[in-house]
């Protein structure tokens, strides 16, 4: 299987603190990778480096076999990588449609926006995901939405561009059971269409259910990797995670 993205020995420091220490990670076509680790293990830093929000201090980023330089958030999106950030990365005072197309607006020549087309697409997407109530339309501000609905907007943005890899950072945080179920359905649909997901969470049960492969991160280092076939229960995964972290 082709590796869509690969990080090799990436180090990232903030002042005197080393957030990532020679971390390596890859995601193949059509697989769901679960990235697990305690709070403060560096999961979010790893994601933000992966998608170009942070520049790595050392190490390589390889996209479909090609090493990339000056990796930025825009370049990541242009190479088919979309991210649903932990904080949802939304602008609450702006409309749903502006949020869905944020940074990737549909435009005519000279940069004027195709308003009608964007609104139609946004309405279609929010219905498709089914996160938002019927009363809400694409022109309402995101600030009026509930947590689950906001997550729906963030996911709508990620799927609009037919991304090859969708990264979900703690996507089930603060969601109801019903909403969590919808996130799982969404991940399964992405997988069925032979695209990939990188799923970050600290709820082992959520990660276990959905992933094909697990990567364990501790204090900025990738300490263990294993296939779902190697284990049979989430408890087993939990035990392995605890043991490797203890040893590390």
């Amino acid at each position: 299987m082709e590796k869509i993205i690969e990080l090799k020995n990436v180090t990232k420091k903030f002042g005197g603190i080393t957030a990532l220490k020679k971390a390596s990670l890859y995601v193949e076509q059509g697989e769901v990778v679960g990235l697990i680790g305690d709070n403060g293990a560096g999961k979010s830093t790893l994601i933000k480096t992966l998608v170009g929000v942070y520049g790595p201090d050392e190490g390589e980023i390889i996209i479909r076999g090609k090493k990339v330089l000056n990796w930025t958030a825009l370049k990541a999106r242009e190479s088919g990588i979309e991210t649903v950030f932990q904080d949802r990365a939304l602008c609450p005072q702006q409309s749903i449609v502006w949020n869905i197309f944020m940074g990737k607006e549909l435009t005519y020549p000279f940069g004027f926006v195709k308003e009608k087309e964007q609104i139609n697409e946004a309405n279609r997407l929010i219905r498709e995901i089914g996160f938002t109530s019927k009363l809400i339309d694409a022109e309402s501000p995101v600030g009026n939405l509930s947590g689950g609905e906001r997550q729906g907007v963030a996911i709508a943005r990620a799927i609009y561009n037919n991304a090859e890899l969708i990264i979900l950072d703690e996507p089930t945080n603060a969601l109801s059971l019903n909403e969590t179920q919808k996130v799982f359905e969404f991940v399964n649909n992405v997988k069925k269409s032979n695209r990939s997901v990188l799923f970050i969470g600290h709820n082992i049960y959520h990660v276990y259910d959905i992933s094909d492969r697990f990567v364990i991160l501790d204090r900025g280092e990738v300490v263990h990797q294993l296939d779902k076939n190697d284990i049979s229960t989430p408890e087993e995964l939990m035990k392995i995670m605890r043991d490797t972290i203890k040893k590390h």
């Binding site: 370049k75 990365a89 602008c91 944020m102 990737k104 501000p141």
Partner: protein, 324 residues
């Protein structure tokens, strides 16, 4: 019925700030009309407003972009004079006024870009840093001109004069250009990628950055736009009065900022209204002249300016809390 209500509600929600400013403007007009109907009907009163109004438009509309992006600039009041100085001195040495105008606007753009870069790259407070630039540039102007004015009567016969600030069957041309500028900016602000990114950056710059928007570039462009607007304002005023004077623009500093906020653009970023700002400019410009027109002493002017700013702020507060 409910559906109708929600459509009306939606229109009010989207345009509430602009509608609020419009309400204040109409109210002010009524006060003056009832207070001094005779003075109000005299065309030369409105003509004097028409000198001030376009200049304020060129200053205020770009400031709406900048404030919506989450920054503020005070240096525009000096950029105004620097650009006008470059224009006047070039005309004085015999360069074609059309080229001098372009050079003046370019000067404004460069100053804006430098101020923006200074603030964005070194992460300075835009309020304090632009205050520094405001004094610095004014100082440079006073030193260069030795506090002397420059008169440029020679532009009177040049085509740029009649096209830009001439009289077209009694209609001052600067009003036409200001209106064109407003229309262009309206589309730029709400229907162009630049304006939309301004909203995102001012609303939540972290989110904007995560979505691949170049936050620094957007902010620097907004500062540049303010510089360009200030330059156009300064050049127009210099053309209208045939005179560059070294303290030029200073009086507009607080008036322009007042117009932005009275116009309904909140200080916290992410929101703004071009239409509202036009009414804000109308309120400020008529206030300046109207007080005297209704026969009150000019000493009341500042008092009423203050009053209307506070009333407008209270009004906009009633309209909407900030959503997070």
């Amino acid at each position: 019925m409910d559906k109708e209500k929600s459509i009306l509600g939606n229109i009010f929600h989207k345009n509430g700030r602009a509608l609020g400013s419009m309400g204040y403007f109409i109210l002010l007009m009524l006060v003056f009309l009832i207070g001094a109907p005779e003075a109000w009907m005299r065309p030369n009163l409105h003509q004097s407003v028409f000198v001030m109004l376009p200049t304020l438009i060129f200053l205020v509309i770009p400031l709406v972009f900048l404030v919506a992006s989450g920054e503020i600039d005070l240096s525009f009041a000096s950029t105004y004079a620097v650009a006008a100085y470059v224009f006047a001195i070039m005309v004085k040495v015999g360069i074609d006024p059309a080229i001098a105008i372009l050079a003046g606007i370019l000067t404004g753009a460069i100053i804006g870009a430098l101020v923006g870069a200074l603030i964005v790259v070194f992460r300075l407070s835009s309020l304090v840093a632009s205050l520094g630039v405001l004094f610095l540039l004014r100082g440079v102007i006073l030193l260069l001109t030795e506090s002397r004015s420059i008169t440029i009567m020679e532009v009177d016969t040049h085509w740029t004069y009649s096209v830009l600030v001439g009289n077209f069957y009694g209609f001052p041309m600067q009003i036409f250009w200001a209106a064109l500028f407003v229309i262009y900016c309206y589309y730029l602000f709400s229907k162009h990628v630049f304006g939309i990114h301004i909203h995102h950056v001012g609303d939540n710059s972290v989110s904007a950055e995560q979505m691949g928007i170049n936050v620094k570039a957007v902010k620097i462009k907004a500062f540049m736009f303010v510089g360009i607007g200030a330059a156009i304002g300064g050049i127009f005023t210099t053309l209208i009065t045939y005179t560059f004077f070294p303290t030029q623009g200073f009086g507009y500093l607080l008036l322009a900022l007042a117009a932005v906020f009275v116009g309904g653009t909140p200080y916290w970023g992410g929101l703004g209204t071009i239409v509202g700002a036009v009414f804000g400019v109308g309120i400020i410009a008529y206030m300046e002249i109207g007080i005297i027109a209704i026969g009150w002493s000019g000493t009341w002017r500042q008092f009423f300016n203050g009053l209307i700013i506070l009333l407008a702020l209270l009004g906009h507060r009633l309209h909407g809390e900030r959503v997070r």
